[in-house]
Symmetry: C2
Subunit: 208 residues, 2 copies
Protein backbone atom coordinates (compact mmCIF):
# COMPACT_ATOMS: atom_id res chain seq x y z
CA UNK A 1 0.00 0.00 0.00
CA UNK A 2 1.31 3.40 -0.95
CA UNK A 3 0.04 6.58 0.67
CA UNK A 4 -2.45 8.47 -1.47
CA UNK A 5 -1.56 11.96 -2.67
CA UNK A 6 -4.86 13.80 -2.64
CA UNK A 7 -5.82 16.93 -4.57
CA UNK A 8 -9.07 18.68 -3.56
CA UNK A 9 -10.37 21.05 -6.24
CA UNK A 10 -12.80 23.78 -5.16
CA UNK A 11 -15.48 24.64 -7.73
CA UNK A 12 -18.61 26.82 -7.70
CA UNK A 13 -21.33 28.06 -10.03
CA UNK A 14 -19.72 30.14 -12.77
CA UNK A 15 -16.34 28.35 -12.74
CA UNK A 16 -14.75 28.14 -16.21
CA UNK A 17 -14.96 24.54 -17.45
CA UNK A 18 -11.35 24.68 -18.70
CA UNK A 19 -10.25 25.21 -15.08
CA UNK A 20 -11.73 21.83 -14.22
CA UNK A 21 -10.25 20.16 -17.30
CA UNK A 22 -6.79 21.60 -16.64
CA UNK A 23 -6.72 20.49 -12.98
CA UNK A 24 -8.85 17.37 -12.59
CA UNK A 25 -8.13 16.39 -16.19
CA UNK A 26 -4.34 16.63 -15.90
CA UNK A 27 -4.49 14.63 -12.65
CA UNK A 28 -6.63 12.01 -14.37
CA UNK A 29 -3.82 11.54 -16.90
CA UNK A 30 -1.16 11.59 -14.14
CA UNK A 31 -2.92 8.61 -12.52
CA UNK A 32 -1.77 6.51 -15.48
CA UNK A 33 1.73 7.04 -14.09
CA UNK A 34 1.06 7.14 -10.34
CA UNK A 35 -2.14 5.46 -9.23
CA UNK A 36 -1.75 6.82 -5.69
CA UNK A 37 -2.86 10.22 -6.99
CA UNK A 38 -6.44 10.93 -5.93
CA UNK A 39 -8.56 13.94 -6.75
CA UNK A 40 -12.03 15.20 -5.99
CA UNK A 41 -14.20 18.18 -6.78
CA UNK A 42 -15.51 19.95 -3.69
CA UNK A 43 -18.24 22.60 -3.65
CA UNK A 44 -20.44 24.09 -0.92
CA UNK A 45 -22.79 21.16 -1.43
CA UNK A 46 -22.06 17.86 -3.16
CA UNK A 47 -23.87 17.43 -6.47
CA UNK A 48 -24.57 19.67 -9.45
CA UNK A 49 -22.48 22.76 -10.12
CA UNK A 50 -23.17 24.82 -13.26
CA UNK A 51 -20.08 26.24 -14.95
CA UNK A 52 -19.83 29.32 -17.13
CA UNK A 53 -21.74 28.61 -20.33
CA UNK A 54 -23.94 25.95 -18.83
CA UNK A 55 -22.00 22.75 -18.33
CA UNK A 56 -23.22 20.81 -15.30
CA UNK A 57 -20.66 18.79 -13.35
CA UNK A 58 -21.18 16.90 -10.11
CA UNK A 59 -19.08 17.88 -7.10
CA UNK A 60 -17.94 14.71 -5.32
CA UNK A 61 -18.01 16.31 -1.90
CA UNK A 62 -19.43 19.27 -0.02
CA UNK A 63 -17.66 21.43 2.54
CA UNK A 64 -19.07 19.31 5.36
CA UNK A 65 -17.77 15.95 4.14
CA UNK A 66 -14.56 16.93 2.35
CA UNK A 67 -11.69 14.68 3.42
CA UNK A 68 -8.22 16.08 4.18
CA UNK A 69 -5.96 16.49 1.16
CA UNK A 70 -2.39 17.42 0.38
CA UNK A 71 -3.49 20.51 -1.53
CA UNK A 72 -6.64 22.55 -2.04
CA UNK A 73 -6.77 24.07 -5.54
CA UNK A 74 -9.21 26.97 -6.00
CA UNK A 75 -10.45 27.29 -9.59
CA UNK A 76 -11.31 30.48 -11.50
CA UNK A 77 -14.07 31.73 -13.72
CA UNK A 78 -16.59 34.58 -13.89
CA UNK A 79 -18.23 33.31 -10.70
CA UNK A 80 -15.12 34.40 -8.73
CA UNK A 81 -16.49 37.83 -7.81
CA UNK A 82 -19.57 36.38 -6.13
CA UNK A 83 -17.43 33.84 -4.26
CA UNK A 84 -15.30 36.68 -2.87
CA UNK A 85 -18.39 37.67 -0.88
CA UNK A 86 -19.41 34.12 0.07
CA UNK A 87 -18.54 33.80 3.75
CA UNK A 88 -18.88 30.00 3.70
CA UNK A 89 -16.30 29.73 0.93
CA UNK A 90 -13.92 32.20 2.56
CA UNK A 91 -14.19 30.38 5.90
CA UNK A 92 -13.59 27.02 4.20
CA UNK A 93 -10.38 28.37 2.65
CA UNK A 94 -9.22 29.93 5.94
CA UNK A 95 -9.83 26.62 7.72
CA UNK A 96 -7.65 24.86 5.13
CA UNK A 97 -4.91 27.46 5.58
CA UNK A 98 -4.56 26.25 9.18
CA UNK A 99 -3.96 22.63 8.09
CA UNK A 100 -0.69 21.20 6.74
CA UNK A 101 -2.17 21.24 3.20
CA UNK A 102 -0.83 23.44 0.46
CA UNK A 103 -3.17 26.10 -0.92
CA UNK A 104 -3.18 26.74 -4.65
CA UNK A 105 -5.16 28.68 -7.21
CA UNK A 106 -5.54 28.62 -10.95
CA UNK A 107 -6.66 31.65 -12.95
CA UNK A 108 -9.03 33.95 -11.01
CA UNK A 109 -9.19 31.42 -8.20
CA UNK A 110 -6.39 33.62 -6.86
CA UNK A 111 -8.92 36.42 -6.36
CA UNK A 112 -10.88 34.16 -3.99
CA UNK A 113 -7.75 33.22 -2.03
CA UNK A 114 -6.98 36.93 -1.80
CA UNK A 115 -10.47 37.72 -0.52
CA UNK A 116 -10.05 35.03 2.13
CA UNK A 117 -6.97 36.91 3.34
CA UNK A 118 -4.64 33.94 2.97
CA UNK A 119 -2.40 35.72 0.45
CA UNK A 120 -1.64 38.73 2.69
CA UNK A 121 2.09 38.92 3.25
CA UNK A 122 2.71 36.55 0.34
CA UNK A 123 3.82 36.84 -3.27
CA UNK A 124 1.05 35.84 -5.68
CA UNK A 125 -0.27 36.05 -9.21
CA UNK A 126 -3.53 35.62 -11.11
CA UNK A 127 -5.05 36.12 -14.59
CA UNK A 128 -3.78 39.09 -16.63
CA UNK A 129 -5.08 38.82 -20.19
CA UNK A 130 -8.64 40.06 -20.77
CA UNK A 131 -10.92 41.05 -23.63
CA UNK A 132 -12.70 44.35 -24.10
CA UNK A 133 -13.42 46.48 -21.06
CA UNK A 134 -12.74 43.89 -18.34
CA UNK A 135 -10.01 45.00 -15.94
CA UNK A 136 -7.08 42.58 -15.60
CA UNK A 137 -7.72 40.62 -12.39
CA UNK A 138 -4.02 40.99 -11.47
CA UNK A 139 -4.50 44.79 -11.38
CA UNK A 140 -7.65 44.39 -9.27
CA UNK A 141 -5.75 42.12 -6.87
CA UNK A 142 -2.95 44.66 -6.48
CA UNK A 143 -5.43 47.48 -5.86
CA UNK A 144 -7.73 45.70 -3.43
CA UNK A 145 -5.02 43.86 -1.53
CA UNK A 146 -1.96 46.06 -0.93
CA UNK A 147 -0.53 43.44 1.45
CA UNK A 148 -0.08 40.97 -1.42
CA UNK A 149 3.15 41.23 -3.43
CA UNK A 150 1.64 40.70 -6.90
CA UNK A 151 3.82 39.37 -9.72
CA UNK A 152 3.38 38.17 -13.28
CA UNK A 153 4.40 34.61 -14.04
CA UNK A 154 3.24 31.17 -15.08
CA UNK A 155 2.88 30.60 -11.34
CA UNK A 156 4.25 31.91 -8.08
CA UNK A 157 5.40 29.44 -5.42
CA UNK A 158 5.49 31.14 -2.04
CA UNK A 159 5.89 27.94 -0.06
CA UNK A 160 2.53 27.35 1.58
CA UNK A 161 0.65 29.00 -1.30
CA UNK A 162 1.05 28.43 -5.04
CA UNK A 163 -0.89 30.78 -7.34
CA UNK A 164 -1.13 30.51 -11.11
CA UNK A 165 -1.65 32.79 -14.11
CA UNK A 166 -4.66 32.73 -16.39
CA UNK A 167 -6.78 29.91 -17.77
CA UNK A 168 -4.58 27.43 -19.71
CA UNK A 169 -1.71 28.01 -17.27
CA UNK A 170 -3.80 25.92 -14.87
CA UNK A 171 -2.16 22.98 -16.65
CA UNK A 172 1.30 24.27 -15.73
CA UNK A 173 0.18 24.81 -12.12
CA UNK A 174 -1.21 21.29 -11.86
CA UNK A 175 1.98 19.82 -13.33
CA UNK A 176 4.01 21.90 -10.88
CA UNK A 177 1.95 20.63 -7.94
CA UNK A 178 2.52 17.07 -9.19
CA UNK A 179 6.26 17.86 -9.26
CA UNK A 180 6.12 19.10 -5.68
CA UNK A 181 3.93 16.36 -4.23
CA UNK A 182 4.90 13.32 -6.32
CA UNK A 183 8.34 14.15 -7.73
CA UNK A 184 9.52 15.96 -10.85
CA UNK A 185 9.76 12.70 -12.81
CA UNK A 186 5.99 12.25 -12.46
CA UNK A 187 5.28 15.81 -13.59
CA UNK A 188 7.63 15.40 -16.55
CA UNK A 189 6.12 12.08 -17.63
CA UNK A 190 2.61 13.50 -17.28
CA UNK A 191 3.54 16.49 -19.47
CA UNK A 192 4.96 14.07 -22.04
CA UNK A 193 1.90 11.80 -22.30
CA UNK A 194 -0.45 14.77 -22.57
CA UNK A 195 1.85 16.15 -25.33
CA UNK A 196 2.39 19.33 -23.32
CA UNK A 197 6.19 19.22 -22.91
CA UNK A 198 6.96 21.79 -25.64
CA UNK A 199 4.16 24.08 -24.47
CA UNK A 200 5.30 23.87 -20.86
CA UNK A 201 8.85 24.76 -21.82
CA UNK A 202 7.65 27.70 -23.94
CA UNK A 203 5.63 29.04 -21.01
CA UNK A 204 8.63 28.68 -18.70
CA UNK A 205 10.89 30.59 -21.09
CA UNK A 206 8.33 33.32 -21.63
CA UNK A 207 8.64 34.34 -17.99
CA UNK A 208 12.30 33.35 -17.45
Amino acid sequence: MTTPVRFAILIYDGVEPIDIGATYGVLSMARRIRSEIEMLLVAEQPGPVVTANDLTVMAHRGFDDCPPADVLIVTGGPGWSRQCENERVLRFIRDWSRTPALLASVCTGGMILAAAGVLDGHRATTKREVYGTERPPLDVMAERHPDIATETGVLVDDGKVVTGGGVSLAMDVTLYLIDRLCGADVGRETARIIEYAAAREANRQRFA
Copy 2:
Protein backbone atom coordinates in the same frame (compact mmCIF):
# COMPACT_ATOMS: atom_id res chain seq x y z
CA MET B 1 -29.03 38.86 -35.21
CA THR B 2 -25.87 37.02 -36.15
CA THR B 3 -25.88 33.38 -37.22
CA PRO B 4 -24.75 31.00 -34.48
CA VAL B 5 -21.61 28.94 -35.06
CA ARG B 6 -22.37 25.68 -33.32
CA PHE B 7 -19.91 23.06 -32.03
CA ALA B 8 -21.34 19.66 -31.03
CA ILE B 9 -18.96 17.67 -28.81
CA LEU B 10 -19.48 13.91 -28.62
CA ILE B 11 -18.72 12.37 -25.21
CA TYR B 12 -19.18 8.91 -23.68
CA ASP B 13 -18.41 6.98 -20.51
CA GLY B 14 -14.64 6.82 -20.09
CA VAL B 15 -13.85 10.07 -21.94
CA GLU B 16 -10.84 11.90 -20.45
CA PRO B 17 -12.08 15.00 -18.59
CA ILE B 18 -9.29 17.13 -20.10
CA ASP B 19 -10.81 16.43 -23.54
CA ILE B 20 -13.98 18.18 -22.39
CA GLY B 21 -12.07 21.04 -20.78
CA ALA B 22 -9.92 21.58 -23.87
CA THR B 23 -12.89 21.68 -26.27
CA TYR B 24 -15.96 22.96 -24.42
CA GLY B 25 -13.73 24.97 -22.08
CA VAL B 26 -11.81 26.76 -24.85
CA LEU B 27 -15.11 27.52 -26.62
CA SER B 28 -16.51 28.90 -23.36
CA MET B 29 -13.62 31.38 -23.30
CA ALA B 30 -14.03 32.13 -27.03
CA ARG B 31 -17.63 33.22 -26.33
CA ARG B 32 -16.19 36.24 -24.50
CA ILE B 33 -15.00 37.37 -27.93
CA ARG B 34 -17.76 36.02 -30.19
CA SER B 35 -21.07 35.41 -28.45
CA GLU B 36 -22.47 33.70 -31.56
CA ILE B 37 -20.37 30.65 -30.70
CA GLU B 38 -22.57 27.92 -29.27
CA MET B 39 -21.52 24.52 -27.99
CA LEU B 40 -23.15 21.47 -26.54
CA LEU B 41 -22.15 18.06 -25.23
CA VAL B 42 -23.91 15.19 -26.98
CA ALA B 43 -23.95 11.56 -25.82
CA GLU B 44 -26.09 8.55 -26.67
CA GLN B 45 -28.56 9.77 -24.07
CA PRO B 46 -28.82 13.24 -22.55
CA GLY B 47 -27.81 13.40 -18.88
CA PRO B 48 -25.01 11.89 -16.82
CA VAL B 49 -21.80 10.68 -18.46
CA VAL B 50 -19.00 9.38 -16.23
CA THR B 51 -15.50 10.27 -17.39
CA ALA B 52 -12.27 8.44 -16.73
CA ASN B 53 -11.52 8.72 -13.01
CA ASP B 54 -15.10 9.33 -12.02
CA LEU B 55 -16.15 12.85 -12.91
CA THR B 56 -19.83 13.06 -13.80
CA VAL B 57 -20.86 15.63 -16.43
CA MET B 58 -24.29 16.11 -17.94
CA ALA B 59 -24.65 15.75 -21.71
CA HIS B 60 -26.94 18.52 -22.98
CA ARG B 61 -28.37 16.38 -25.77
CA GLY B 62 -28.77 12.79 -26.85
CA PHE B 63 -28.35 11.40 -30.36
CA ASP B 64 -32.11 11.68 -30.93
CA ASP B 65 -32.43 15.39 -30.13
CA CYS B 66 -29.05 16.75 -31.21
CA PRO B 67 -29.46 19.88 -33.34
CA PRO B 68 -27.41 20.43 -36.51
CA ALA B 69 -24.00 22.01 -35.92
CA ASP B 70 -21.11 23.37 -37.96
CA VAL B 71 -18.76 20.74 -36.59
CA LEU B 72 -18.97 17.50 -34.63
CA ILE B 73 -15.92 17.01 -32.39
CA VAL B 74 -15.32 13.46 -31.13
CA THR B 75 -13.42 13.37 -27.82
CA GLY B 76 -10.90 10.77 -26.64
CA GLY B 77 -10.19 8.78 -23.51
CA PRO B 78 -9.86 5.16 -22.41
CA GLY B 79 -13.51 4.57 -23.30
CA TRP B 80 -12.60 4.90 -27.00
CA SER B 81 -12.08 1.16 -27.57
CA ARG B 82 -15.58 0.30 -26.39
CA GLN B 83 -17.06 3.07 -28.56
CA CYS B 84 -15.33 1.59 -31.61
CA GLU B 85 -17.75 -1.34 -31.22
CA ASN B 86 -20.79 0.77 -30.39
CA GLU B 87 -22.95 0.64 -33.53
CA ARG B 88 -25.16 3.54 -32.38
CA VAL B 89 -22.11 5.79 -32.03
CA LEU B 90 -20.62 4.69 -35.35
CA ARG B 91 -23.93 5.23 -37.13
CA PHE B 92 -24.32 8.68 -35.52
CA ILE B 93 -20.89 9.67 -36.85
CA ARG B 94 -21.61 8.27 -40.33
CA ASP B 95 -24.89 10.19 -40.42
CA TRP B 96 -23.00 13.41 -39.61
CA SER B 97 -20.47 12.67 -42.33
CA ARG B 98 -23.30 13.00 -44.85
CA THR B 99 -24.22 16.50 -43.63
CA PRO B 100 -22.40 19.73 -44.50
CA ALA B 101 -20.81 19.74 -41.00
CA LEU B 102 -17.10 19.32 -40.45
CA LEU B 103 -15.99 16.23 -38.54
CA ALA B 104 -13.19 16.58 -36.01
CA SER B 105 -11.48 14.52 -33.34
CA VAL B 106 -9.24 15.25 -30.40
CA CYS B 107 -6.87 12.67 -28.94
CA THR B 108 -8.14 9.08 -29.30
CA GLY B 109 -11.46 10.38 -30.60
CA GLY B 110 -9.68 9.80 -33.92
CA MET B 111 -9.85 6.05 -33.27
CA ILE B 112 -13.64 6.28 -33.13
CA LEU B 113 -13.80 8.28 -36.37
CA ALA B 114 -11.56 5.62 -37.91
CA ALA B 115 -13.81 2.80 -36.70
CA ALA B 116 -16.79 4.58 -38.24
CA GLY B 117 -14.95 4.45 -41.58
CA VAL B 118 -15.10 8.19 -42.18
CA LEU B 119 -11.30 8.54 -42.27
CA ASP B 120 -10.77 6.01 -45.05
CA GLY B 121 -9.07 7.72 -47.96
CA HIS B 122 -8.13 10.66 -45.75
CA ARG B 123 -4.99 11.87 -43.97
CA ALA B 124 -5.40 11.73 -40.19
CA THR B 125 -3.63 11.69 -36.84
CA THR B 126 -4.32 10.71 -33.23
CA LYS B 127 -2.53 10.31 -29.88
CA ARG B 128 1.08 9.04 -29.95
CA GLU B 129 2.61 9.39 -26.48
CA VAL B 130 1.79 6.62 -24.01
CA TYR B 131 3.02 5.26 -20.69
CA GLY B 132 4.17 1.74 -19.96
CA THR B 133 2.95 -1.08 -22.17
CA GLU B 134 0.11 0.75 -23.92
CA ARG B 135 0.54 0.77 -27.69
CA PRO B 136 0.55 4.20 -29.33
CA PRO B 137 -2.96 4.71 -30.74
CA LEU B 138 -1.44 6.18 -33.92
CA ASP B 139 0.30 2.83 -34.56
CA VAL B 140 -2.95 0.98 -33.89
CA MET B 141 -4.77 3.28 -36.32
CA ALA B 142 -2.20 2.64 -39.05
CA GLU B 143 -2.38 -1.12 -38.51
CA ARG B 144 -6.16 -1.48 -38.32
CA HIS B 145 -6.98 1.01 -41.04
CA PRO B 146 -4.60 0.74 -43.99
CA ASP B 147 -6.84 3.09 -46.01
CA ILE B 148 -6.04 5.99 -43.68
CA ALA B 149 -2.87 7.99 -44.45
CA THR B 150 -1.66 8.42 -40.87
CA GLU B 151 0.61 11.33 -39.97
CA THR B 152 2.10 12.88 -36.85
CA GLY B 153 1.22 16.49 -36.15
CA VAL B 154 -0.56 18.89 -33.84
CA LEU B 155 -3.51 18.28 -36.13
CA VAL B 156 -4.24 17.19 -39.67
CA ASP B 157 -6.73 19.19 -41.76
CA ASP B 158 -8.01 17.08 -44.63
CA GLY B 159 -10.83 19.42 -45.56
CA LYS B 160 -13.97 17.71 -44.38
CA VAL B 161 -12.18 16.03 -41.46
CA VAL B 162 -9.80 17.58 -38.92
CA THR B 163 -8.03 15.18 -36.53
CA GLY B 164 -5.80 16.14 -33.62
CA GLY B 165 -2.88 14.71 -31.68
CA GLY B 166 -2.97 13.68 -28.04
CA VAL B 167 -4.69 15.14 -25.01
CA SER B 168 -3.59 18.77 -24.50
CA LEU B 169 -3.39 19.28 -28.28
CA ALA B 170 -7.18 19.29 -28.10
CA MET B 171 -6.75 22.97 -27.24
CA ASP B 172 -4.85 23.56 -30.48
CA VAL B 173 -7.53 21.70 -32.45
CA THR B 174 -10.33 23.73 -30.88
CA LEU B 175 -8.48 26.99 -31.61
CA TYR B 176 -7.93 25.81 -35.18
CA LEU B 177 -11.61 25.05 -35.63
CA ILE B 178 -12.40 28.53 -34.27
CA ASP B 179 -9.98 29.91 -36.89
CA ARG B 180 -11.75 27.99 -39.64
CA LEU B 181 -15.32 28.69 -38.58
CA CYS B 182 -15.08 32.17 -37.02
CA GLY B 183 -11.89 33.68 -38.48
CA ALA B 184 -8.24 33.58 -37.46
CA ASP B 185 -8.60 36.80 -35.47
CA VAL B 186 -11.05 35.07 -33.11
CA GLY B 187 -8.75 32.06 -32.67
CA ARG B 188 -5.79 34.34 -31.99
CA GLU B 189 -7.65 36.47 -29.46
CA THR B 190 -8.95 33.35 -27.72
CA ALA B 191 -5.41 31.95 -27.47
CA ARG B 192 -4.28 35.27 -26.00
CA ILE B 193 -6.92 35.51 -23.28
CA ILE B 194 -6.38 31.90 -22.23
CA GLU B 195 -2.61 32.67 -22.10
CA TYR B 196 -1.92 29.93 -24.64
CA ALA B 197 -0.27 31.97 -27.41
CA ALA B 198 3.32 30.94 -26.57
CA ALA B 199 2.32 27.30 -26.08
CA ARG B 200 0.41 27.25 -29.38
CA GLU B 201 3.39 28.67 -31.25
CA ALA B 202 5.75 26.13 -29.62
CA ASN B 203 3.47 23.27 -30.69
CA ARG B 204 3.33 24.65 -34.25
CA GLN B 205 7.11 24.86 -34.47
CA ARG B 206 7.60 21.39 -33.03
CA PHE B 207 5.90 19.89 -36.07
CA ALA B 208 6.95 22.53 -38.62
